[in-house]
C-alpha cells in the first residue's frame, strides 16, 4: 500500500521502526497532491517548505535516538479558517484573501508542539457558512468518490483531503455539522468534541456559542490521538473548559457489551433517504450483535432545531462579522469618500452572497421589534432541545442516527435553495445547540457513495463515543473503503 493511504498510527509504527522517514511520508503526500489535486481541489494554500522543514526536524530526532510523539511527522491539513502565523488564512473569502495572521490558533499550536507536519490550508464555504464548499470564493472542491458531487461542507476541503490521501489527518470546524457532514460524504471519520473541549482561540468566529474545532481522520484510533493533542484548557478562550481530559487512547477497547444506545425516531423520519436508513439499520443490527442494548426513543423538539439554529447562528454571525470593516485588517475599497462609505463598500465587495444573506438575517432578528419574536424565541426553543438530549442521555449512554439525510449531492443541485441546503444539516444541528460531542464514522455505501453513522454522547464523555465507534469499526470493514481516483 502507498504511504499516503496509511493511517497515522500505522505510519508512527513504521517511523519508530525506521522503516520510513518523516521526509518520505511528506514526499508521498505531496506527490499524491500533485497527482490528484486538479481533480479534487482540496487546498487553497500549500505549505510544502514548512512541511519539509518540520519533517526534517522529526527525522533528526529519530536519528538521535529520541522518542517521538504519537503524531510526530504526520502530515496534517488545516481548514483555512484556523489562524496560522505567517501563512495566509483566507476563510475562502475575498475579505481575507490576503490576510496573514499575526498569531497562531491554540489548536494549531498544539499540533506544531506535537510535531505534526503542516501540508496546507483547505477549502471551505466562505466563513464556514454552507454545507457543500460551493460558497468558496476560490474554487469548488470535488468529492473524491464522484467528481460531479460536493464533498459536503463547510469543512469540505479537510474531509476530501483525508479521503483522497492528500493529508493523513486534518482539522475542521463544526458550527452545525461542518465536520461531521463532509466526513460522512467523503467516507472518513469526523468528530465535533464537546463545546469548550477544544480552545477556539484563533478559529475565525462564525457563531461563537456553537463553533467547535475538531479532527477528521481515517479511523477511530487516529481520532483518539488527535483529540489527545488538541483538547485541553486554554486561558486565551474564556469558554474553554477547565478540565483535565483523559488519555483518549485508553478508550480504544473492542467492547460494547451492555452499552445502552437510544435511536431517536425523528432521526429516521421522512426526509431521510431510504437507502441511508438501510445502512443505519444494519449498523443498529451490528451494535446489537456486539452486545449493545439498542432501543427507539424520541426527541420531540428535533424539527424545531433547524429554524432555531438559523436564527441563532446568523444572529451571532452578524455580530461576529461586524469586525470586518476595512479598518485594521482585511479587504478595503481603494477610493472611499468617508468612513461610512468605506465600511459599506468594503463589506459589500468583500463578502459573498451567502455570507451577506446570513448577516442580513441575523441583523434582522436582532433588530428592534423582532428580537423577542425571533432571537429570544429561538433561545427558548434551544433550551427545550437541550432538555430533550438531557432526558435521553439520562437513559442512554449514547444516541445513534445518520449523520446526513442523504449521500453527497451533485454540485449545483441545491445552491439556489437555501432551505433545502440547510436541511442537509438536520441531524447534526441539534447537537451543536446542546453543545454535545458527536462522531461520524463510515457505515457503508449507497450507489458507491459513503454513508455516515452519527453517535452522540454526553458532555465531556468523548471516551464512550470513541469506544463505541472503535468497536463498530473493529467489527466492520467500512472504514477501509477508499475512493478510486
Amino acid at each position: 500500500m502507498d504511504l499516503y493511504q496509511l493511517t497515522a498510527h500505522r505510519l508512527h509504527e513504521m517511523l519508530v521502526k525506521k522503516e520510513v522517514s518523516a521526509a518520505e511520508i511528506t514526499k508521498a503526500v505531496f506527490q499524491r497532491i500533485e497527482q490528484v489535486e486538479d481533480k479534487v481541489n482540496s487546498y487553497i494554500t500549500l505549505t510544502q517548505e514548512t512541511a519539509e522543514a518540520q519533517a526534517a526536524e522529526v527525522d533528526k530526532r529519530l536519528a538521535a535516538g529520541e522518542a517521538i510523539e504519537p503524531l510526530a511527522g504526520i502530515p496534517v491539513a488545516l481548514k483555512d479558517n484556523l489562524c496560522t502565523e505567517g501563512i495566509r488564512t483566507t476563510c475562502a473569502s475575498k475579505m481575507l484573501g490576503d490576510f496573514v495572521p499575526p498569531y497562531t490558533a491554540t489548536a494549531v499550536q498544539r499540533l506544531y508542539d506535537a510535531n505534526l507536519v503542516l501540508v496546507g490550508k483547505t477549502n471551505l464555504d466562505e466563513f464556514a457558512m454552507g454545507s457543500s464548499t460551493e460558497n468558496s470564493k476560490f474554487h469548488l472542491t470535488h468529492n473524491p468518490w464522484d467528481a460531479e458531487r460536493v464533498p459536503g461542507g463547510s469543512s469540505g476541503g479537510s474531509a476530501a483531503a483525508v479521503a483522497a490521501g492528500q493529508a493523513i489527518v486534518s482539522l475542521g470546524t463544526d458550527t452545525g455539522g461542518s465536520i461531521r457532514q463532509p466526513a460522512s460524504y467523503c467516507g472518513v471519520v469526523g468528530m465535533k468534541p464537546t463545546y469548550g473541549g477544544v480552545s477556539r482561540y484563533g478559529a475565525v468566529p462564525f457563531a461563537s456559542s456553537l463553533d467547535q474545532i475538531g479532527p477528521i481522520t481515517k479511523d477511530v484510533t487516529d481520532m483518539a490521538h488527535m483529540l489527545n493533542v488538541i483538547c485541553g484548557h486554554d486561558p486565551l478562550d474564556s469558554t474553554s473548559a477547565n478540565l483535565q481530559h483523559p488519555d483518549f487512547t485508553k478508550y480504544l477497547v473492542n467492547d460494547i457489551k451492555g452499552l445502552k444506545i437510544g435511536v431517536p425516531k425523528e432521526y429516521l423520519a421522512e426526509g431521510i433517504d431510504s437507502q441511508v436508513k438501510n445502512r443505519i439499520k444494519e449498523a443498529i443490527e451490528k451494535m446489537t450483535e456486539l452486545g449493545a442494548y439498542v432501543e427507539e426513543t424520541s426527541m420531540p423538539h428535533t424539527d424545531y432545531a433547524m429554524p432555531a439554529y438559523y436564527l441563532l447562528a446568523t444572529a451571532e454571525a452578524s455580530s461576529n462579522l461586524a469586525r470586518y470593516d476595512g479598518v485594521s485588517f482585511g479587504f478595503r475599497v481603494a477610493d472611499a469618500e468617508d468612513i461610512v462609505d468605506m465600511f459599506k463598500r468594503s463589506r459589500s465587495q468583500g463578502f459573498g452572497d451567502e455570507v451577506k444573506l446570513r448577516i442580513m438575517l441575523g441583523t434582522y432578528s436582532l433588530s428592534a421589534g423582532y428580537y423577542d419574536a425571533y432571537y429570544l424565541k429561538a433561545l427558548k426553543v434551544r433550551t427545550l432541545i437541550k432538555q430533550d438530549f438531557d432526558q435521553a442521555l439520562e437513559k442512554y449512554d449514547l444516541l445513534l442516527g445518520p449523520t446526513s439525510p442523504s449521500t453527497a449531492f451533485k454540485i449545483g443541485e441545491l445552491i439556489n435553495d437555501p432551505i433545502k441546503m440547510y436541511l442537509q444539516d438536520i441531524c447534526t444541528i441539534p447537537v451543536n445547540l446542546a453543545g454535545l460531542p458527536a462522531i461520524s464514522l463510515p457505515c457503508g455505501l449507497v450507489n458507491n457513495l459513503p454513508v455516515g453513522l452519527q453517535l452522540i454522547g454526553k458532555a465531556f464523555d468523548e471516551g464512550t463515543l470513541l469506544q463505541a465507534a472503535f468497536t463498530f469499526e473493529q467489527n466492520t470493514e467500512h472504514h477501509r473503503l477508499r475512493p478510486e481516483l
Binding site: P307, S328, D338, K344, M360, A373, K380, V381
Partner: protein, 93 residues
C-alpha cells in the same frame, strides 16, 4: 412579510450596500427563511428560560497583570493603510 424597505433598513444597520438585484434576492430568500422560522411559534415556551450558552460559565477572572500581547509592528503590518503607529482611515466627520 419582509418588504424591500425592511431590507433597505437592515442593510443600513449591517453596513451593507446592496444592488437592486441583491435586494430582490434577499427579500425573497429572507421571506422564505422567516416563513420556515414561523414553526417556532407553535412551541409553548412560557416559563422556559433562554439558553444563550450551554456551559455553566458565569465569568472568567484572571490576575490583573500585564501579559504578552501582539507586537504593534506585527499588527500594523497587516493594516490596509497606516501612518506611523496608527491605522489610517478616510475622513470621519
Amino acid at each position: 412579510m419582509i418588504s424591500k424597505q425592511d431590507v433597505d433598513h437592515v442593510a443600513l444597520l449591517a453596513r451593507l450596500e446592496l444592488t437592486e438585484e441583491e435586494k430582490e434576492l434577499y427579500t425573497q430568500q429572507l421571506n422564505k427563511i422567516l416563513n420556515a422560522a414561523k414553526a417556532l411559534q407553535e412551541v409553548d415556551t412560557d416559563n422556559i428560560p433562554p439558553t444563550a450558552h450551554v456551559l455553566p460559565i458565569q465569568n472568567v477572572f484572571r490576575e490583573d497583570r500585564v501579559g504578552k500581547s501582539i507586537d504593534p509592528e506585527k499588527a500594523l503590518a497587516i493594516a490596509p493603510e497606516r501612518e506611523e503607529s496608527f491605522f489610517k482611515v478616510p475622513k470621519i466627520v
